[in-house]
Every structure is written in C-alpha cells, then in structure tokens.
Amino acid sequence: MDGSILASPSAELAEPRRKPRQFSPWLDAWRRFRRHRLALISAIILLTMIAAVLLAPFVWRVAINDIDFAEHLKGPTWNHPFGTDDLGQDILARMLYGGRISLAVGLSAMAVAMLVGTTIGAIAGMSRRWVGPALMWLTDLFLSLPALPLLLLVIYLFRDSLKAAFGPEGGVFVMIVVVIGGLRWMPVARLVRAQFLSLREKEFVEAARALGASRLRQVVRHILPNALGPVIVAATIDVAAAIIAESTLSFLGLGFPPDIPTWGRILFDAKDYLDIAPYWALFPGGAIFLTVLSINFIGDGLRDALDPRKVM
C-alpha cells in the first residue's frame, strides 16, 4: 500500500516484493457491492438507461415535436416503438429527450443538496458553541416545512422572473434544481453532523491536530473522507427523490413548460387518454418507476458496501 511507512528501512529487504494484492477501501466496497445481486442488476439497468438517453438521439432520429395527425394515438408499431400521442408525436423520441432532463435534474439537485447539507452539517459538527445548536434548529425547521406546497409556492412566485433571466428552459431548470436541492439537504446535514461529532474526538484527528493541521485541513483531509460513506448512500437516494419531485411538478402541470417533454410532463398529457391510449402513460410512468427503483436498490447496495461495520 503506498503511503504506508515501513517500520524500518530493512523491512522491505527482508520481504522481497511480491506481486502486491490490490487492496483499497474502494475495491473492498466494490467487492461488497457486487454481492448485492439486485443492486448490481439495478446498476446495469441504470447505466443502460443513461447510455440510451445520452446516445439514442444519434440513433433514433425522430424529432420530438414532429406533428403528424395521420398517425395520432397509434399504439406501439415499428415506426413508433412506444406509440404516438394525440398530436402524432413519437413518444420514444420524447421520452429519450425527457430522460436527459429528468436525470440531469436528479443529479444536479442531489449535488445542491449534498453541498448545502455537508457544509451545514460540517459547520454544526465542528462548532463547540452556539452555532451548532442554532444550525440544527434551522435544520429541524426545514424538516417540518411541507416541501411540495412550498415548492409550488416558490415556483408560482419566481417563475416569471427566472424565465426572463435564464430563458424558458434554463430558468425552470435552475429553479427546480435549486428548490428541490434546497429542500432536501436536511437529512444530509444531520447525518454529517452526527458523523463529525464522533469523528472529531477520534485519535487520528487529535494526531492531525497535534501535528498542527488547521481546522479546515482537519475537516477536509481527515474527518470528511471518513464521514463520506453514509453521505454517498444519502446522495443516491436523493437522486431518486429529486427525480420524483421533478416528475411530480411536471405531472401537476407546474414544472417544465409544455413543449419540453419530461417524463412527468408526458404523463400529465397522457392522463386524459387513459382509456384509449394506456401505453402513452405506461411508458413514461414505467421509466420513472424503473429509474427510481434501480437507484433505490443501488443505494441499498451501497449501504451494504460502505458500512464497514457490517459483517458480510
């Protein structure tokens, strides 16, 4: 293992260098993760979906807004594998486009939540005076905010000005990401704080302190990497939650504008045609479900993989 200090200069000589067995915490985690069969399958499914969403526009060259009334509300055929909607637009093409947005929203909102949550949790976990309790009070306050009504309220109030600033698509994207991220950081903050409270008293941190490491260095180099496991698990789950939140908003007709077909938006359009075109709702709904389920299983697998106390 590089970085380790030999007991004496002769130690290396005494034991001739054999082919070193690769061993790192990450490799170990991967070994544990592989044993969770469902998580592994989910990871493959999710990667396939991401690849499909990113690469398919190069293969499946049908415009998302190609209106063809002769073909409207047709079930799945070879020309339109997922069928067409009431304007004769190809649902597969729309879903591939929407998938990119849904996944991008999920990942970005997760990043916002992690950033805010880790920062607040870290500050609360390191402070020894009133800052910690005050931040935790704020966290608890945010935890008891009704997220969806507040989300709707914020979107209602700020929609127009953001649209003016970032354009119709970008404005809604920025707003949804910031608001979903801004309402989901609390569990992470609690998690990080709890980890910090126990880690900051550990000997290795004390050693770093004794060696003169600044507080920032203690946090970034020593405490944070050790607190990362549960944070990664929470981050995974948060991606799923953000995708659901975005789809919910679009499903309520209050997310992205109608010409941007996210999965939730396609469902919203499909819900009035359930009796004659059920496939229209089933494909995007199934896609959301499959994505969220895979992410949740991956989170479960990561929980097994990243918790070193767990005996396999």
Binding site: S144, L145, L148, L150
Partner: protein, 318 residues
C-alpha cells in the same frame, strides 16, 4: 402527561413562527405584486390601486408587514379569495375535511399493513416471506403516487370498471350515499396508504429486529409468556418508538402525496385547492393553504410526541 404536553406545545410555537417567517420571506422576496391581478386590470384606475396599496400597507417595511400579516392570520382574518369570491378561511374549512379523511384513512391502512407484515418479517429475518416483503416494499416506495394513481384508474376503472375514477357529486341518500362516498374514496386511500405502508414496513422491520434480540424479550419468554403476548406487548410496543419518529419525519412527504392524489382523483380537498389557486394566481389562498399544510405538519409532529410519551413512559418523567 399534562406538563409534557404543555412543554411540547411551547416548543411547537417557535417552529410555527419560523415556518411563517420562511413563508413570508419567500413572498416578500418574490418579484411582482400580490395585487398584480388588480394592476393589470384596466378597469381599476391607478389612484384606486394606490389607495388599496396604502390600505393594505404594501409600501411599509417588511418587518411591519410580517407582523401585520401574522396578527391577521392569528385572528382568523385570512383574506379574500380573488378566484372564488369568498373568504379564504371559509374556503379552507370547506375543503379540509376531505383531505383529512383521505390522509387519516391512508395512515390507518398503512399501519394495518405495515405493522403485521414488518413484525412478521422481522421474526423470521431473511426467510422467503421477509425477502418477498422487502422487495415489495422497495417496489412500493419507488412507485411515485402519481403513477400508482393512474395505474389504479387504468386497472380498476377503465379495465374492470369497478370503481368511479374521479370524485363527483352524489345525489343518493341514506346508506347509498355513504356507500358511494366510500367507493370513490377507495382508490385515493389505497394509493396513499400503500405508498406509506411500503416505507413504514421497512421501519417496522428494522425496529423490531433491533428489539427482538434484547435480554428483556428473552426474560419475557423465560417467564412463560405466550409468543403472542411477547411480540405484541413487549416487542412491538418498544419497536414502535423509533417508528413513530420516522413516520412523523415523513409527514411532509405524505402531504405532498396527498396533493398529487387529490389532483388525480379530483378530490375537493385543500391540495387540489392549492393547485387550482396557483393556476388562477390566487395569492391569498396559496399562502393560506401552504400555511395550513405547515400547521398540519407541526400538528402531526405534536401527535407523534404525545404518542412517544405514551409508548415510552421514561420520557414523561424527563
């Protein structure tokens, strides 16, 4: 118990105040005018608008406006709905029972599923039943409520034609009236309840697993109590303590689900009121409904605290 309750109530007040500050800050930061509708209406001359602004104190500093707003809210003066032309509080009171009925029944349904399934799964960890239950619960909380709602409509209304797919006015009387109401409430309650049950089952299972190997359970068995009594009175009661906390923490998510369900099934509750108010730019209603949702979350947290005190007698002493 009384003192414990009073203490909890006192703790709830600052968080309600905090929530109201957050709400008001959002409103105050928002660009545009809450009276935007009047401003664009050409029938309202500018001097009337200015007089209205003065009357409602819109040009005062934020802190003054906040205090006036919170005082008005506390006095029950919640403003006037632009869209429905009635007072906001009457409107909300009309709509609230439907929401509470659906949410309450869904909670009961979730408990009825999650408690037995979770406990049974934890009594036989990693058995066939446990694996089926945990896979199903994963599926359950990965299915967003808006999709389950549509699936239910597709299966039970469109295909099987058993249940009505949206709420509507019922002109039947007597028992038939109750029956029709129940019939149209079945699907929304199931959608919410099953979603809730899925995550609750996981909580119950892990909480029971934590408790079931403790010494006091062995003691209870050793003194000859039946398995049933050991599980129900000794294991489940203690396992419920963390479950109550987690369920209370989930409350905001449940209200989110309720909004979606109300919208799908056209339930005349405050969730669908919120959506229609947003679509109609009806600011007073939006603010009030959001605040009511926040109050409900705090209320349910309070109920959770009371349950906590009942489940764990040590807390009352502290």
């Amino acid at each position: 118990m009384g003192r414990y309750l009073a203490k909890r109530l006192l703790i709830a007040i600052p968080s309600l105040l905090g929530i109201s500050v957050v709400l008001f800050t959002v409103l105050a930061l928002a660009p545009g005018d809450p009276f935007g509708e009047l401003a664009t209406n050409p029938a309202v001359p500018p001097e009337v608008r200015a007089a209205l602004r003065v009357k409602f104190g819109l040009d005062d500093p934020v802190a003054v406006r906040y205090i006036r707003w919170i005082v008005a809210m506390l006095q029950g003066d919640w403003g006037f709905s632009f869209a429905s032309r009635i007072n906001v509080d009457t409107l909300i009171l009309q709509r609230l029972p439907a929401t509470l009925f659906v949410i309450g029944s869904a909670q009961v349904l979730a408990l009825l599923i999650a408690l037995p399934v979770g406990t049974y799964a934890a009594m036989r960890p990693y058995s066939f039943f446990d694996q089926i239950a945990s896979t199903l619960s994963f599926v359950g909380f990965s299915l967003p409520t808006f999709f389950t709602g549509l699936l239910f409509i597709l299966i039970f209304s469109v295909q099987l034609d058993w249940l009505p797919f949206v709420y509507r006015d019922i002109d039947a009387t007597g028992w038939r009236w109750y029956w029709e109401h129940l019939r149209q409430a079945i699907m929304p309650i199931c959608v919410l309840g099953l979603f809730q049950a899925a995550s609750m089952t996981r909580y119950v299972r892990s909480a029971v697993l934590d408790v079931i190997r403790l010494d006091y359970v062995t003691t209870a068995r050793a003194k000859g109590l039946g398995e049933r009594i050991v599980i129900v009175k000794h294991v489940v009661r203690n396992a419920l303590i963390p479950v109550v906390t987690l369920v209370a923490l989930q409350m905001p998510a449940i209200f989110g689900g309720a909004i979606v369900t109300e919208q799908i099934f056209r339930i005349p509750g405050i969730g669908s009121l919120l959506i229609s108010a947003i679509l109609a730019n009806d600011t007073p209603v939006i603010m009030a409904v959001t605040f009511v949702f926040a109050c409900l979350v705090v209320l349910f947290n309070l109920i959770a605290d009371v349950l906590y005190g009942w489940l764990d007698p040590r807390i009352t002493l502290g």
